[in-house]
């Protein structure tokens, strides 16, 4: 360890020299690794955004309960009380026709003009029920049994679809991470082997002078990390630019989608890409070193 710190400057200088000797191959490797990481980053950011949307939707989960329109005010009040007594319900409130109409005007924005085509308010009053999403199955069963309930509209289908999408993205993500890992390791280990071949005389001299393998291998390990971190930084710049651009485009036109903060996504991406870069750099270099040793 003492030798490591006293020779750190030497190791970095050596790694730079090894990089310079095969400059073009190393540059192309960084570009390839950058593009590979970029694909992975896109999938990761898609997964994180979807996950965040589902979390928001789950927190704000609500059910709209439509009742018999002939029901009178007292009975509606009683129905609300019964609803609120069900386990897993956080609150229930009556939304009358006018409020229903105004909400739709807010959602539609400029397109709300279409509502002017109706002679009368087309919306019915309903009871808005805020729920704990994990209790949704029990709540739905119990609500349907209540007197006067005509129809229960839930967002379960949308949430389920989102969850399915996340499951698919997670699976694709795992596959892509595996593919990225293998591709990166192949690229890095190939470059390391090439570096070892180019420096074989120097390595042989060091062996004859009694240098341990760790001393000989460290500059190559650093080179591998330069490559993957370089690729990672490139991927991060691309993906950060793309996220900012996409938020600028989508965020303004789809205000009702609860997108997570872009800065949070970008920060998470930075940590994710850099951690993977360092990990794959080390594994790829060690793989290259051990395979060269076995030759």
């Amino acid at each position: 360890m003492k030798n490591f710190f006293s020779n750190l400057g030497y190791f970095i200088k050596e790694a730079k020299t090894i990089f310079r000797v095969d400059f073009l191959s190393n540059i192309f490797s960084i570009l390839s690794i950058g593009l590979i990481f970029f694909i992975l980053s896109m999938i990761f950011s898609g997964w994180e955004i979807s996950n965040s949307i589902v979390e928001v939707l789950e927190k704000e989960a609500e059910i709209n309960l439509f009742y018999d329109e002939n029901m009178e005010g007292d009975k509606i009040g009683l129905l609300i009380e019964k609803i609120e007594s069900i386990k897993g319900i956080r609150g229930a409130s009556l939304i009358n026709e006018e409020e229903s109409y105004h909400r739709m005007v807010e959602i539609l924005g400029k397109e709300a003009k279409i509502l002017e085509l109706f002679d009368e308010n087309p919306f019915s009053p309903f009871i808005e029920v805020k729920i704990q999403i994990e209790e949704i199955e029990t709540i739905l069963n119990r609500l349907e049994l209540l007197d006067g309930v005509e129809y229960v509209r839930d967002n379960k289908e949308i949430i389920d679809k989102m969850k399915n999408m996340i499951t698919i993205l997670t699976l694709v993500g795992i596959l892509v991470i595996a593919a990225v890992g293998i591709s990166t390791m192949i690229v890095v280990s190939h470059i390391i082997r090439q570096g070892i071949y180019n420096n074989r005389e120097q390595i042989n001299t060091l062996k004859l002078l009694g240098a341990p393998n760790s001393f000989i291998g460290l500059p190559f390990l650093l080179e591998g990390m330069f490559l993957t971190i370089g690729g990672g930084v490139l991927a991060f710049i691309l993906v950060a630019f793309l996220i900012n651009y996409a938020y600028g485009q989508i965020g303004n036109s789809l205000l009702f989608i609860p997108l997570p903060n872009s800065k949070v996504i970008i920060n998470d991406m930075l940590i994710f890409i850099l951690s993977l870069s360092v990990t794959f750099g080390i594994i790829g270099s060690l793989f290259g070193l051990s395979s060269a040793k076995n030759d």
Binding site: N3, S6, N7, Y10, E201, K207, L208, G210, A211
Partner: protein
């Protein structure tokens, strides 16, 4: 320090390099290994460094058996050997000092000690004025001296110099030989191979090993 008992070395292609070698080298000895090209001098040094292993017999260097099984320990043993290779094995594109210091980096020297020892070794071989010169820009004789400086900076127990006078003119060859002889002391054994027997005619102290077709003839002169 070095003891060979009935050591033979036959290469994989069947070439017999050394036959039934018996010798004992004590600490502080100076040993000259001579013989024509291809006689087995370099093979003997390769055995001492653990680059090759005896195919028969037993060889011990600093009490370590030189066998494949001891590969890891042999790598450590090399840390206390100062080799001067026939083809120098210096790193081009680096200065004389960088080359010397490279041989010290994995030994127990502090960064400051490495520089100090490196400079002292280069001054000792007469290259104090070329410390920062790239080895690519040095003459043949100077390059040879950098290789010697790299060996002595390590403060080795054994200096192994393979044909250090090869390809040098007579004056430079004598200077290099004198330099190597001056390195011998009670802690440092110096082993030199050379095919230039005429250079050894006036030397009257040391162990002289004549190698011919893999056979050794040992002669001692003077106190050594």
């Amino acid at each position: 320090m070095i003891e060979a008992k009935n050591v033979s070395l036959t290469y994989k292609d069947g070439t017999i390099a050394l036959k039934d070698v018996n010798l004992k080298i004590e600490p502080g000895d100076i040993v000259y290994i001579t013989g024509p090209s291809g006689s087995g001098k370099t093979s003997l040094l390769k055995l001492f460094m653990g680059i090759e292993y005896p195919t028969e017999g037993e060889l011990r260097v600093l009490n370590l058996p030189m066998t494949k099984k001891e590969e890891a320990n042999i790598r450590n043993l090399r840390k206390i050997i100062g080799p001067v290779f026939q083809e120098f094995k210096l790193i081009n594109g680096r200065t004389a000092l960088e080359n010397v210091v490279l041989g010290l980096r994995f030994l127990n020297f502090s960064p400051r000690q490495m520089i100090e020892e490196g400079k002292a070794a280069l001054i000792k071989v007469g290259l104090g004025h070329k410390i920062e010169t790239l080895v690519d820009h040095l003459s043949f004789g100077e390059t040879q001296r950098v290789a010697i400086a790299r060996a002595i900076a390590r403060k080795p127990a054994i200096i192994l110099a393979d044909e250090p006078t090869g390809n040098l003119d007579i004056d430079n060859a004598i200077n290099i030989l004198d330099l190597l002889i001056s390195l011998k002391n009670k802690d440092t054994t110096v082993i030199i191979t050379t095919h230039a027997t005429h250079l050894l005619e006036d030397i009257n102290e040391g162990t002289f090993i004549m190698v011919n077709e893999g056979n050794l003839k040992v002669e001692s002169r003077g106190e050594a």
